[in-house]
């Protein structure tokens, strides 16, 4: 069976799939790809079934060697891609295209020019042992395949989808490092904040702090968000993409490994597309939120 031998992991490299929904009620979140859009695209490029397990690399630095032939594609934060054969000869390769690795070829991702997370999919998917039905690492709960380390061997699954691979796709539009605008639907606890605070949330500029991981991205702002409601919020279920505001008034964007319940009010929830985009925010980057009205409820 073909495998990918891990030779370098950079800051962090994790196996992720579409996640492990269904356990939030007993305290375990879904985890899964942080940037779902990029991960889906990587799987589509190599003709995998939706939700196949792949490698999520934080800030490049991932290096793998194919043992047997492997068809791979890298998406997400754009990095230089180097492919070197066992004879030492280099081949041209790039993000967002399918790369045919021969036995012994080594693929290495450099550092991304923008964005944070890159995705390496292999045709057939990464076939490590699932935990509670998923191959996703949950960094908050410590559940799922351990973070990758040099020397790990990643088995490649059989490609039962039999879908054609794609040669290459256009790069997504977000690959520039400027100010990012994220869409968020107001609620559930927007009424816990001063109207001026909600107005600032929807108009002000926020800076991505260094506290940015798969659990959440902490933003800072010149104007902390002030609360109207002083009481303590009884713990309630937290949705992926929640814009949660702790007592210091600086919002946190909840990503894939977010806590399942929380005791701080959530002012708004990011849209699906903006959750994927938020997973690519780099510390220091500027963010604005566009607040959308929630649809009427009975």
């Amino acid at each position: 069976m073909a495998v990918l031998a891990v030779e370098g992991v950079g800051w962090q490299a994790l196996v992720e799939d579409a996640g492990r929904p269904g356990f939030a009620d007993v305290g375990l979140g879904s985890a899964g790809y942080a940037d779902t859009a990029s991960a889906d695209l990587a799987n589509r490029l190599v003709g995998n079934r939706h939700g196949s397990a792949l490698v999520e690399a934080l800030f490049g630095g991932l290096a793998v060697r194919a043992r047997g032939a492997a068809l791979v594609a890298a998406t997400g934060a754009p990095c230089p891609v180097l492919v070197r054969g066992e004879d030492g000869r280099m081949r041209g390769a790039a993000m967002y295209e399918v790369i045919d690795l021969r036995d012994g070829d080594r693929l290495e991702l450099g550092s991304p020019s923008v964005g944070l997370r890159s995705y390496l999919a292999v045709r057939g998917g990464i076939d490590v042992e699932p935990v509670l039905g998923s191959r996703s690492r949950d960094t908050l709960a410590g559940v799922g395949p351990a973070p990758l380390a040099p020397g790990d061997l990643l088995p490649i699954g059989g490609n039962d989808a039999e879908w054609p691979s794609v040669d290459a796709v256009p790069w997504p539009g977000w690959t520039s490092g400027g100010e990012v605008v994220l869409d968020a639907v107001r609620g559930p606890r927007d009424d816990w904040f001063e109207p001026a605070a909600m107005a600032w949330l929807g108009a002000g500029t926020f800076t991505v702090s260094s506290q940015a991981d798969r659990i959440g991205v902490r933003l800072t702002s010149a104007q902390p968000l002030t609360r109207r409601e002083r009481g303590e919020l009884p713990s309630e279920g937290a949705e992926l993409g929640s814009v949660q505001v702790p007592p210091d008034g600086h919002p946190i964007l909840f990503l894939a490994d977010h806590p399942v319940t929380g005791g701080y009010p959530v002012a708004a929830v990011l849209t699906r597309a903006s959750i994927a985009r938020a997973a690519q925010l780099v510390p220091g980057q500027q963010v604005r939120l566009r607040l959308l009205p929630a649809p009427p409820l009975p």
Binding site: P21, G22, F23, A24, D25, V26, G27, L28, V131, L132, A141, V143, V185, R186, G187, P188, R189, P234, S235, E236, G237, A238, E239, L240, G241, S242, P259, V260, T261, G262, V266, V269, L270, T271, R272, A294, P295, P296, L297, P298
Partner: protein
């Protein structure tokens, strides 16, 4: 009498139903378990709320209407379903809790073992169940400074809740005892011992 919930938006794929009290949450949760709403993929129980996640086949308004039409169900309450948790009551904070509550250490153990507790909701860590019961005499604040490491199996109190730490983790709850019983075990199916709604009784045992 259970009041109808208030609905709050929670993004494109979830809606939050807020109830007057935990009993309302439990009754609606039991109703949902008996009669699932089409398109609802997951329910997350809170102290006053149910978060309902749904797929693209439905929307927040349709889910809210369906939930409103589900008559609440009294959660099953047979003694046969009670999980008995054996506890050695030698926690580091037991004396302090005895003093704070005015019950004394022995009184705390008596109160803690006499009550029927119920898992209300989970959070903080996989298998960490917030247990509630009737009666306020065991209500105490968290420790002013959290511990860096609370051992797995620690039986604790904070606010209106009791809990067993499923694994070693930082924590600010008051520790009154310990149990060998695993709250969370990936080798077991189901992994969580005390999902929301589970009735629980603590039983004092010798070390």
């Amino acid at each position: 009498m259970v009041s109808t919930p208030r609905f709050l938006p929670a993004g494109e794929r979830a809606v939050l139903a807020e109830f007057a009290d935990l009993a309302g949450v439990m009754a609606q949760r039991a109703a949902l378990a008996a009669e699932p709403i089409p398109g609802v993929t997951e329910t997350v129980t809170g102290a006053r709320t149910l978060l309902l996640r749904f797929d693209a086949t439905t929307d927040a308004a349709a889910v809210a209407r369906a939930l409103r039409e589900l008559p609440p169900v009294a959660p099953p309450d047979s003694e046969a379903d009670v999980i008995e948790v054996p506890v050695v009551y030698d926690g580091e904070d037991l004396e302090a809790v005895g003093a704070m509550t005015g019950l004394g250490a022995d009184g705390v153990v008596r109160e803690h073992t006499a009550r029927l507790w119920r898992s209300a909701f989970c959070g903080f860590a996989p298998g960490f169940s917030y247990l509630t019961s009737d009666g306020a005499s065991l209500e105490i604040p968290r420790r002013p400074t959290p511990r860096v490491a609370v051992p797995a199996g620690a039986v604790a109190l904070a606010g209106e809740f009791s809990a067993v730490y499923p694994r070693t983790s930082p924590g600010g709850w008051q520790l009154i005892g310990r149990t060998e019983m695993a709250m969370w075990d990936l080798e077991r199916d189901p992994a969580a011992l005390l999902p929301p709604g589970t009735p629980v009784r603590f039983v004092a045992v010798e070390a």
